[in-house]
């Protein structure tokens, strides 16, 4: 299981949980597992967001591997100028 930290505004879609545990070994599988566990998250995840894995912010690389002890945060989608 990996521990996923959500931003507070998503609590309303996860029964008040700010930290969600799912089974996944890549960012893509983690996002899929989040939707499976909490379907109300689907519109937010499908609209696009960034994920920080072990301190590095990842926007699109859903193949990025994650370990059970990885530090994972969901972030609003980042774009540069």
């Amino acid at each position: 299981m990996v521990e996923v930290n959500l931003w507070s505004g998503l609590r309303r879609f996860t029964d008040g949980e700010l930290v969600v545990h799912v089974e996944a070994d890549t960012v893509g599988k983690m996002l899929d597992a989040l939707i499976a566990a909490h379907p109300d998250l689907a519109p937010v995840i499908e609209a696009g967001l960034s994920v920080a894995v072990d301190g590095e912010v990842i926007t699109d690389a859903h193949h990025t591997p994650i370990r059970p002890d990885s530090e994972i945060f969901l972030l609003q989608q980042l774009k540069g100028g």
Partner: protein
């Protein structure tokens, strides 16, 4: 290093050995585009001419918010030289989401949402004929109530700009103009404020500013009835142009070939489309004749993306010794009349990113207003956030009689800090920047009457992104690199230096070409400070692939095992005495004989680049304020920023100086000014005042190098962080000079004078 080890590092995105000594990386050779640019040979967007070309002109709405009752184009269609007219209903229906928003902004269909919104366009045999014909188009509007200010737009009773656009996170009961709501934080906020000796809170506002690139948007589009077309365009991202134009016009992306021109600035504003699809639509209607569309400066300011205007509340707790105990921000940002354009989330993430805080809370509202569709602008959101937070930090520091740099060092984020937006920082260089700023001779300069000094820190994430690069060996041993990221800040020189270093060949034996969409796989634009980082990283790996092939061929030629050879100094060598006695096989020799050794040699690499390293900076500015006029003069300006590794230090310094110059304009002069009818009043550079050379002193720079272990040469992006600290640094300097705190940008002479006189 063995190739499988390299592959593992590339995929993991970290742990390169960045402590090596380099021969080419870190030098300052001539820029490859220098001669073309100083002789006028470089071709920009408007410099492209093709046979049989038509010229376009666009009719723009003079209203902030109105329903289109009717459009009569018959007189324009009958005018001399006119070959095509298009309106919104000529574009395909059925689009949704972001594609629909792009299409709506390209040509209004039912409603116009801002002054300058395009409603029709003409293609004619000359630019003059097109402009004249546009005047013959008759549009009947039904005026609707409008709203410009972000706070007014989310207030009860504000005109509703769009229905049904609220995102799923917006709490029930909020005004329909609030389309996104963000909330996050960590720690015990109440306990943090309770532990403070001083708690202060204030509200800050910034006005919309434009990227102010010197080159207006320009393109030539050609599209036939068969749906196949071509475009030559000034852009930060040719694949984005292709993707977006294809979506707006219902084309297959691979049928559109997009070639980028040289680019005269973009700063994020050229990562999207505004009028490009119009040229293609006109071309298709004109029987496939190419159509040139060049925006005027007024069109650029009225109808292309500025950044958001903001209204921001900040609250901070601080102990008497300067220790920060808690921080809270509530940001309201408008990004025009379409959702998801204001950089609210990024602003929130950046707000306290420079600090190690036990408790933080962020709340943000993305709001619609009757303004142009905002676009990315250099570190989107971060400059405004820094203005709010760094202004209040400075105010509290002064109140407690503390040194502003020492307070930032005391609270500064470092490796292992839990960032304000959640993740734990890896190796970062904020403290190194602050220490270097403290030691700089500018801080020893004595200040005179009406003079003041301001300090601020800044941050940007940087970005990797989708990247594809090829390199090929010439038969004389020189190398051509095909890159997909337009050279907006020196990336051709930087990539050439990294390729030269990797291959061990002279810099001037490497040519980097920015290629069209058919020549490589998808590349994201030059945005997010990624071009030197990601294209450079991919180019290095493409070179490593070619080195592997050259080593294999030499080994075969010598009849020894592949593991018994190595690449160094531009040649294949036997790896040791046991490998045998062979003279080095140089890259020139390999190039001369490659046709006989197996054919052309090239390398290729594609990736969604990982290993991104954040960049922090610290700015110190000295100003003098004229107490009679309120005019602020910049006396000295210092930029200190972590580059990771400066591949070409002159370009890095140029990025630092450019960021500071833009920030100075944002702080002191630049703003969108609207009248009561919501019409933009200053859409020319005479009235929208960007800084010119005579406004600025020489901007001093210090490059800090805390190498990023996620890049083979330690690169962090440097393009964006530099615009983040100037807004608060100048506000802090004005406060030091006058004793007056200005919390609403820009700090024009009129505002400063009013503050001085009113106290």
């Amino acid at each position: 290093m063995a190739l499988d080890e390299v592959k593992e590092i590339v995929e993991s995105g970290e742990n390169y050995d960045t402590d090596k000594e380099f021969k080419y990386v870190g030098t300052r050779p001539d820029r490859p585009d220098g001669l073309d640019k100083v002789t006028g040979r470089a071709k920009y967007g408007a410099d492209h001419y093709v046979a049989n070309m038509l010229h376009a002109a666009v009719l723009r709405a003079p209203h902030a918010h109105a329903r289109i009752v009717s459009i009569d184009t018959s007189k324009a269609e009958a005018a001399d030289g006119v070959k095509a007219v298009v309106i919104g209903t000529d574009l395909p229906e059925g689009l949704t989401g972001g594609d629909l928003h792009l299409q709506e902004n390209t040509l209004a269909r039912d409603k116009v949402y801002y002054d300058g919104h395009a409603v029709a366009a003409v293609a004619a045999t000359s630019a003059l004929a097109a402009k004249d014909a546009v005047k013959l188009i008759e549009v009947e509007y039904e005026l609707l109530p409008h709203v410009i200010d972000v706070d007014a737009a989310m207030a009860e009773g504000a005109p509703v700009i769009r229905e049904g656009e609220q995102g799923p996170t917006v709490p029930e009961g909020m005004h329909p103009n609030v389309v996104n709501y963000i909330e996050f934080g960590h720690g015990d906020l109440d306990a943090g404020f309770d532990a403070a000796d001083l708690v202060m809170e204030n509200t800050y506002k910034t006005e919309a500013t434009h990227q102010g690139y010197i080159e207006p948007h320009a393109c030539v589009g050609q599209l036939g009835d068969d749906g196949k077309g071509e475009m030559w365009v000034c852009t930060q991202g040719q694949w984005f142009i292709r993707k977006m134009c294809a979506a707006v016009l219902g084309l297959e992306a691979s049928n559109l070939r997009v070639t980028p021109s040289e680019i005269g600035g973009g700063f994020g504003g050229k990562t999207t489309i505004f009028s490009e699809a119009i040229s293609l639509a006109l071309s298709r209607k004109a029987g496939g004749r190419p159509v040139k569309l060049v925006m005027t400066r007024s069109e650029v300011l009225r109808a292309t993306g500025p950044t958001a205007s903001t209204s921001m509340d900040v609250k901070i707790g601080m102990k008497n010794d300067g220790t920060m105990t808690a921080g809270k921000v509530v940001f309201r940002m408008q990004g025009g009349a379409w959702p998801d354009m204001a950089p609210t989330g990024m602003a929130l993430n950046c707000a306290f990113a420079s600090y190690d805080l036990p408790a933080v809370y962020h709340e943000g509202y993305d709001v619609l207003a009757n303004r142009p569709k905002a676009a990315a602008y250099r570190a989107p959101g971060s400059p405004m956030a820094a203005f709010a937070v760094e202004s209040l930090v400075d105010e509290m520091t002064r109140k407690l009689g503390l040194d502003p740099i020492e307070v930032r060092i005391k609270n500064g984020a470092k490796e292992g800090t839990k960032s304000s937006y959640g993740p734990t920082y890896k190796k970062i260089g904020l403290l190194e920047c602050l220490e270097a700023a403290k030691a700089h001779p500018n801080l020893a300069e004595k200040l005179g009457p009406n003079q003041g000094r301001g300090v601020a820190a800044g941050f940007w994430f940087n970005h990797g992104g989708e990247t594809s690069v090829s390199m090929s060996l010439g038969n004389d041993g020189t190398v051509t690199v095909s890159a997909g990221t337009p050279d907006i800040g020196g990336s051709r020189a930087s990539v050439a230096l990294m390729v030269a270093e990797t291959l061990g060949i002279p810099y001037d034996h490497v040519r980097v070409n920015i290629v069209e969409t058919g020549a490589l796989g998808f590349n994201e634009p030059s945005h997010g400070s990624r071009a030197t980082f990601a294209t450079g990283k991919a180019a290095v790996e493409a070179c490593n692939q070619a080195i592997g092939e050259m080593c294999r061929r030499a080994a075969k030629r010598w009849g020894i095992d592949e593991d018994a050879v190595e690449w160094k100094d531009g040649a294949v060598h036997p790896a040791g005495p046991n490998a045998g006695e062979f003279p080095p096989m140089t890259i020139k020799k390999i190039g001369q004989t490659m046709g006989r050794s197996g054919g052309p040699i090239s390398g290729h690499h594609e990736t969604t680049a990982g290993g991104v390293g954040e960049s922090f900076g610290a700015h110190v500015v000295d100003v003098e304020v004229d107490p009679e006029t309120g005019k602020t003069t910049i006396l000295r300006y210092l930029v200190v920023q972590d580059a990771g590794r400066a591949i070409h230090p002159s370009y890095v310094e140029g990025q630092y100086q450019g960021g500071a110059a833009q920030g100075i304009g944002w702080a002191l002069n630049e703003e969108y000014v609207y009248d009561d009818m919501g019409r933009l009043q200053n859409p020319i550079f005479l009235d929208y005042r960007v800084p010119v050379a005579s406004d600025l002193p020489m901007i001093d720079t210090v490059i800090i190098e805390v190498p990023n272990p996620g890049h083979p040469y330690g690169v962090r992006g440097v393009g964006e962080t530099g615009i983040t600290p100037p807004l608060p640094a100048i506000a802090n300097a004005i406060a030091d000079a006058t004793g007056r705190r200005l919390r609403h940008l820009p700090m024009t002479p009129a505002k400063v004078l009013k503050a001085i006189k009113n106290g």
